[in-house]
Amino acid sequence: MKERLEALRQEALEQLQSVADATSLNDLRVQYLGKKGQLTEILRGMGALSAEERPVIGQVGNDVRAAIEAVITEKQEGFDRAATAHRLQAETIDVTLPGKAVNAGSIHPLNKVAQEIEDIFIGMGYTIAEGPEVETDFFNFEALNLPKNHPARDMQDSFYITDEILLRTHTSPVQIRTMKAMNGQTPVKVICPGKVYRRDDDDATHSFMFNQIEGLVIGPNIRMSDLKGTLLQFVQEMYGPQMQIRLRPSFFPFTEPSAEVDVTCAQCGGEGCRMCKHTGWIEILGCGMVHPKVLEHGGYDPKEVTGFAFGMGVERIALLKYDIDDIRHFYANDTKFLSQFAKM
């Protein structure tokens, strides 16, 4: 009987060796190990064995079953793997075709740049003050040391609505409103962003409506050197640590001393190029120490406090930052233009 079992093992393993598919494998499993299979058939003859032989032959029978089962399992796994591989092969797609578009919006480049500037100053401890776009002559001009008939009003041809009410020509009136609201308290540390309006004919570099961001700091001991330090910090955070600034004396009715601020030309790094007209510098800001008359109009004693103010055009910063050729693009709202600013 032992010989029969060994022969069965031999025969089964040989047949399993050459089995080619899962169905044939199952047929062999039934043929050898099924309830009516050949192994069962042989072991049915165990009853005729002696008590000594029975466990020995039983053991042999178990060994044969285990050996056959092991091969069948191994074979089965192989067939399963092949079947899976085949199925996955059939499921192959063209991964080079485009994905399903997710509609992405975009923040307007002017607001994007304005937010960037705001965030830098918020990080430096500033808050944001806003004021009306339709202003009184007093806040827009008089309180800023620009009395009626002042020649400097020429610099800012204005849209009047009545003799006393106009579209603000700069965000500076917000400075006066902020000072008045502070009631003589210091420190004042604000930036004032917003739309402003001037009677300019629109062209590639002029727009009758544009955006400004101004800053105002007032305290007991604010110096022009602090202004320089503040602007340097801003410029380096905005454009990179390699940037430098240069102040040139200038004139604004609401500051004295006043300065125009140039930054290192980002295009050429200060070497001189077409963009900076070969000077290495680009003008981006106006600034100065707050004029005593403006402090007085804001409710401060110019003997007790000093302050500095600065202002920049958001369009100009954005034009330079993105190398945009025409300011009118900002207001045409062509989606081919807007969508370019969807990046974070």
């Binding site: 509609n103 008939n149 400097a152 009047y160 102040l247 709202n333 989606t335």
Partner: protein, 815 residues
Amino acid sequence: MNVSYRWLSDYIDLGGISPQELAEMMTRGGIEIDSVPSRNAGVSGVVVGYVKTREKHPDADKLSVCTIDAGTGEDLQIVCGASNIDAGQKVPVAKVGAKLPGGLDIKRAKLRGVESQGMICSARELGINDKLLPKEQQEGILVLPADTEIGRDILEVLALNDSILELDLTPNRSDCLSMIGVAYEVAALTGRPLNLPNPGKGLYPTAELTSDYIKVSISDPELCSLYTARYIKGVKIGPAPQWVQNRLIAAGVRPINNIVDITNYVMLEYGQPLHAFDAAKIAGGRIDVRLAKAGELLVTLDDQQRKLEPHMLVIADAEKAIALAGVMGGANSEVTSDTTDIILESAKFDGGSVRRTSRQLGLRSEASARFEKEVNQAFVREALDRASALIALYAEGLVTEGVAEAKISFPEPVKIELSLGRINGMLGTELSSLEIKTILSRLQFKAEVSGERSWSVTVPSRRGDITRDVDLVEEVARLHGYDEIPTTLIEGLTTTGALTKPQAIRRELRTIMTNAGLQEAVCYSVTSLQRTKLFKELSGETKPIALAMPMSEERSVLRTVLLPSLLEAAAYNLTRKNNDLALLEIGNVYHSDEAVLTRLPQEKPRAALLLSGNRRSASWNRSAEPVDFYDAKGILEKVFERLGLAGRVAYVAAQPVGFHPGRTAAITIHTERGTETIGYVGQLHPELQRDFDLPDTYVAEIELAPVYEYADRHIEYRTLPRYPAMERDIAVVVDRGVAGGALTDAITAAAGELLESVKVFDVYTGDRIGSDKKSVALALVYRHGDRTLTDEEVTEAHARVLAQLEQSFGAELRK
């Protein structure tokens, strides 16, 4: 102001400083110089020639053959095409080998068979802007004065070897609207001494008294503080000397005749405008400075009749107005070639008055530009004397003894207290007293010590811009150099930067809406009147706010509603073939109930959106999906959900103007003040779609003030459900007019606390239920927070729901 480098060197030694270096120095000192063009546009080898003979060309009607003495020893034969060439003239001759602007090289040539050894030049060929030449010299070749030296280099004769500094002056530095003012500035920058003209030099008055010829008076002392005049007899009108003309042209002023040119020359030199009257045309031997009479007429020098207004200041004789003070002379007193005696005026008129008059009449001149910025009264008399002396010299005039003068006031010199502490405290510098004194002396400001480290500084009248100590601080700073100011950090001010709630919410709104696929637009705040009328409810009861002087009708009133701007943007994009649009704008509208503003209007922040075309464009694996109402509403729902407002906001069918009447909802917000409408969402009315050439377009506009006020950023955490929910789906058949929102509201009310959520998941209309009916399928979820629900509880609640639906809407459960 255009400053000739050579002219400037008359007043200050510029040795060792090139025009470019000077420009850089001045720019860094606060006088910005745009560019420094050379007056020589590329001329060499051109000399003065004398036309000895002129013959007609044998073979060409329009050409002349000239014999020229160009000081070369041998006569030159030159063929010339100009019609004004004639024998006896002195002309610019480009010899063989000469170069002219534009890279033109002069070579020996044959013109129609006749040899030509050079070229006779026009002003334009020499690179001179012929608009700046006297009229008679604009045509043909340039004819030079008869006494011009033969053979002399034309660059010397016309002073073309010079550079122009183009000053871009800020309004405060009107002192630099004069050569002398610029010289003072350069002296301060360089520390070099000045060499200014002596105004009385060459002035030898006759024995006759001015007062016998002319008397002057000021009737309006507010607008004229000093009026002076001289009487000059027997002038010979003719061209001014070449050097005067050269300097005027360099400064951009066209030469006219010796009298006008000299007044202009002195104006450029001193910054004091002068005017010459023909004395023969002045009635009554007197001049009065007075206000114009109502309806008074004056023909000005440009031959325009001007209707004067009573606020305008005029110069008048005994009978009539003869000039608009400081703005323009009258034709009735003009100096002409027949003039023999002149009255020369030098005065100080009020800047504001001149500005108002010149603006109102649209007459701006070199003179008015200077008066507007307040001329230096100390120069009034100096300029008068300087011009009189030059007229005596170059127009053979005889100046009578004495000056006719009317003086109202003479300004006191400005004295300012300045301390070292103030300067260093304001600038953050550590300047010494000595450095301050050096700077003040370079400016030629007198400084007297008034205390320890403080001075009383007397400001010369030419610097009218300096009135306070901070002005002196700036002078010190700019001459010390802005680069020398250190870079420091603010000391002792610790502040926290942050956004206010509305600012933070506005940013959040922008983020949510752009994340929802909208592209942010920024549109103009001004629009046409017609545009403000398109959306009545959104514009509210406001009166249009119109600009007094708009640039165009399209930009003449402040917008009262945002949407028309987005419609324009959409229409623009469609013409650019951008068909799928999802736009957003956050901006202000301007409302007022006043027809004429006496107080500031309300500026209301709003957000608007526009959707048009496809939500998704067609792709290889899906077809295009056009946008609909629910896309627009969905974005708003997301906005309100994210801002914590979902519970307060509701949508109610509405028919506002400008919207599709069947596809529009009013957006309401519920607050302790009650329920108010804050905007609309819907399809654009088909008529508006047609007017703007838009396909089906969905829009919304909402008021942001209530959003800012009620937005709730607080997050209330609820523990996750620990007990299972029971879900029941129902489908009910109701009349078509029943709003889905009404059904869910009724269900929520009837079900009680056990209902966790109710959602519409299908709406069916069709034959199977009757044409006036619809079937609404709803998914209800019941849950108890503390225990598992029993079937009985849910059944009971659900029965209440069905009963309520039947009672309120006649709803039938669909099987």
